[in-house]
Symmetry: C2
Subunit: 524 residues, 2 copies
């Protein structure tokens, strides 16, 4: 499906920012420094969830925001009401004329006039932070589930409002999920959508309802239409006999609901089995409807369980599908996909994905959307240079210090394509050369080390300059493929969700020396 987001995001406006960016803007302006060239970096200090990798996401939203950045009259009027009443009107004229045509963004370096790039802090953090967090969370869940299981994101109702849900659906797909329940994510972002029926559909039927048209034509060919209701009742008897149940055990309302759903979706019939009793009601009703449909040439697409011990029930269901398939000689029934949901977290997912599990489809809501292991990535946006001079935050809290100066970043690879480490260096330095030995300072180490990369890849790409995109944005599907490729290149030790080996980032000797000099406080 195509991607489109014609309306953009109403909430994503220049005023969706912290007030102090505008008070600082007035401060810069009053100090005659609005146009000072400045550079900020957007980064995070630690990978989330105790893992060793993060998928950086949100580029599309950042670029859309930068292109559209403009304060309308109502925005400026509101700011005038929030700032001191004697503020120089010329400041508001300055705001009215602002745009991002002077801003350059190789993700996630942002350079341009000081006043504007300062204003961009919170919106860019807001757009990158959660997108990256949930993409990373989804990637972890995909790694735990393995490549075969079908993963569905269904957490819209657990998100922080509409846009949180839209972001969650988009970026959990990017991180490795197969589809989302969120229809708007399908319409606006091209995410594949999926869904069938809820318990309320099942419990809304009592069994006394009469379908206006119970007749169903065969899947292919010109055969006569068949009364599905009657056909299901015939099959119910056979199924109950096979399962050792009384024919009145299965709930008639549940069966009526299944028949109603099958009449609407004969080619995509799924049974939700646990509105009453799975074994005594959901299963026989499903089998009766699926076998009646089968007579007409339709194959049911699956069952879903939403409570209880999901793994154990799936094993039991598969066993009964096999015996029933053999009993009635309908081989396709053996492999009907079993879908499960119900507060599945990483631990339960690992259980459901274990060797021999008969679960095929896993729906995850809360655990993917709210990222309960760590609900925020903790991205920051820090000034690294102004007026061409490097800047560094020299707080007493070493954790909050920043790396100064305009930088470049490279990924160094070994001869077998394995990742050795990433190097940060000053923008003016020559890039590392393949085959040449390099001395770098791993972060946190007291000594430098040497490394000889077989290949060197630049990590920063220039996306936005002079108010324009520099190259077309990748589609969501392309970004998804790129993310999966990147993850596949990580070594298993870095990729594993628990206690991974830390991926090394190192500074060039020049950058290390600059940090050292500025930390000594002599040259600011």
């Amino acid at each position: 499906m195509a991607e489109q987001d014609p309306q953009g995001r109403a909430a994503m406006r220049p005023l969706l920012t912290d007030l102090y960016h505008f008070t600082m803007a007035l401060g810069y302006w009053r100090a005659g420094r609005a146009h000072d060239p400045a550079e900020f970096e957007l980064f995070f200090r630690r990978c989330p969830f105790g893992g060793a990798f993060t998928l950086a996401a949100g580029l599309r939203e950042c670029v859309c925001f930068l292109r559209a950045f403009h304060l309308c009259d109502a925005d400026v009027q509101f700011l005038a009401s929030a700032l001191p009443s004697d503020t120089d009107p010329a400041f508001f004229e300055h705001l009215r004329a602002l745009d991002c045509s002077g801003v350059t963004v190789p993700l996630l370096q942002v350079s341009g006039p000081l006043l504007v790039v300062q204003l961009l802090e919170t919106p860019l953090l807001c757009l990158v932070s959660y997108a990256s967090l949930i993409a990373t969370n989804a990637a972890r869940l995909r790694l735990i589930a393995g490549p075969e299981k079908r993963l569905l994101e269904m957490g819209l109702r657990r998100a922080q409002g509409p846009d949180g849900g839209l972001t969650a659906s988009t970026y959990s797909y990017l991180g490795g999920f197969d589809a989302s329940s969120n229809v708007l994510a399908g319409q606006l972002r091209g995410v594949p959508v999926a869904g069938t029926l809820a318990h309320s559909f099942v419990t809304s039927f009592s069994g006394t309802e009469v379908p206006p048209d119970p007749m169903l034509a065969p899947a292919v060919g010109p055969g006569p239409r068949v009364n599905l209701v009657a056909c299901v009742e015939v099959w119910l008897k056979r199924v109950c006999a096979h399962l050792g149940l009384a024919v009145q055990d299965p709930h008639p309302g549940e069966r009526a609901a299944f028949v109603a759903y099958a009449l609407a979706f004969p080619r995509a019939f799924q049974g939700l089995l646990d509105s009453y009793s799975v074994r005594r009601s959901g299963l026989p009703n499903f089998l009766a409807v699926a076998l009646a449909l089968g007579e007409l040439g339709y194959q049911a697409v699956g069952v879903r369980l939403d409570s209880g011990d999901l793994l154990q029930q799936a094993q039991e269901l598969r066993r009964l599908f096999r015996t029933t398939a053999a009993q009635f000689q309908v081989p396709w029934l053996e492999s009907v996909p079993i879908a499960v949901s119900n507060n599945i977290d990483e631990e339960e997912l690992a259980r459901l994905a274990q060797e021999g599990s008969e679960v095929n489809v896993i729906g995850i809501g809360t655990s993917v959307v709210t990222c309960p292991l760590q609900p925020s990535l903790g991205c920051v946006y820090k000034l690294v240079s102004v007026g061409g001079k490097p800047r560094m935050k020299l707080t007493e809290d070493p954790e909050k210090q920043t790396l100064p100066g305009s930088k470049a970043a490279f990924r160094l690879l070994g001869p077998d394509g394995s990742l050795l480490l990433d190097v940060l260096q000053l923008a003016e330095e020559l890039p590392p050369q393949a085959g040449q030995e390099l001395r770098v300072w791993p972060r946190g180490a007291q000594e430098p080390c040497t490394v000889r990369p077989a290949r060197v890849e630049p990590l920063l790409r220039l996306w936005f300059q002079q108010g324009q995109l520099c190259e077309p944005l990748p589609s969501l599907a392309e970004s998804r493929a790129f993310a999966q490729l990147s993850l596949s290149r990580l070594s298993p030790a870095h990729r594993r969700p628990e206690q991974p080996a830390l991926y090394q980032v190192a500074l060039s000797e020049k950058l290390q020396a600059l940090v050292h000099r500025l930390s000594a406080g002599t040259s600011l």
Copy 2:
């Protein structure tokens, strides 16, 4: 400030829902049941964060959504692409004509045609769940902080995208915060906004900058303009002498930044003290600028700390403010508000709010917005009646059972206005009468109990009927006042954040009997 949200919420559209609502819609429609009268209830099973109360929030967004509910051509076309290709075109005509004119909503009961009220499930959950969660979280933080501390929400950058941030700012204000950093929440929702400066503003100055106009007029009266830069340098010497520092200890860039900010905001000067060293740089620079401003009749509005031991530093700052105020005979300096921020959670907040703390203003971001103790409320939306008949989900998992039938809810109060318990009963029952004894079944109890309320308050209000609001929505400020009033009526045992007494909810005898009858499985 006025509330206005002219654009509404672009993302809050009918397709922002799970696909299975539309597949079920086709199922209902095909079964001739689209217009069956039905009722759903939106509720949660447990109060969040281990507490005993929840602020239910999100009414405004729900009502706005219901009023605007309509599928446009593009929406219907998208659904046609997501549903089977042989779906009867008349179904799409049905969707095109849908609106909520048949829907009635006393929060949070939703009754109307089955097909429509089913479609509303996910959007209403999405709008109520996070709004209620964060309002409740904010209320807990307010209870911990006590009434005197000024609480600022500043978590926009940690939210789930733009709308998550807007919802967080709006409902943390409703829950008891005083203001937000989020400018858009001020513009669209009338939330008071606050903010001054970040570290990047401070570190962007090296001290060599020359302000284009260093002259400042006195706060009142016609006196001559004064060179603030020069005046600050004079004060710096005095301050350093008083504090026992060398005059070159305080960072000149930090001082230049403070001067620049003071020139832009002479009536609202705040110092951010920890870009370098609080004691040796931030404090003396702040005092020099504040005292220079003081000479011109301006009083600084505060200082902010964003790292280290916030409580201990606040105590030390207050002590030094007092000695400095005495030394230079500027009494207002004693009580300059001290603001703190930096990953403040419930535990740290309790520490900052303890008896004798000198902290006045507390900024909270991640902990209020992401609700890390419980990142989702777990609201559900369950069918309770269809075609006038009660419905109940009778799963094998007792936790997931629902209470059947269309209901009314009442709060029973004692003679002193204390809350006794809430009663759920069938809609057709007479309301409980003040002064009359009532037999009810507390949830989870094996035996009924009797209660004699001195007063009875109905809990459900009719907000939406026949496509229209039934009464004007309260303003955000009114809702905030109502929430605070409601919390004040809870007993301290129910209100306390840790290990509170559980607030009792009971069923009427008739409702209890209905549950019992339907659980026995005899009458569905």
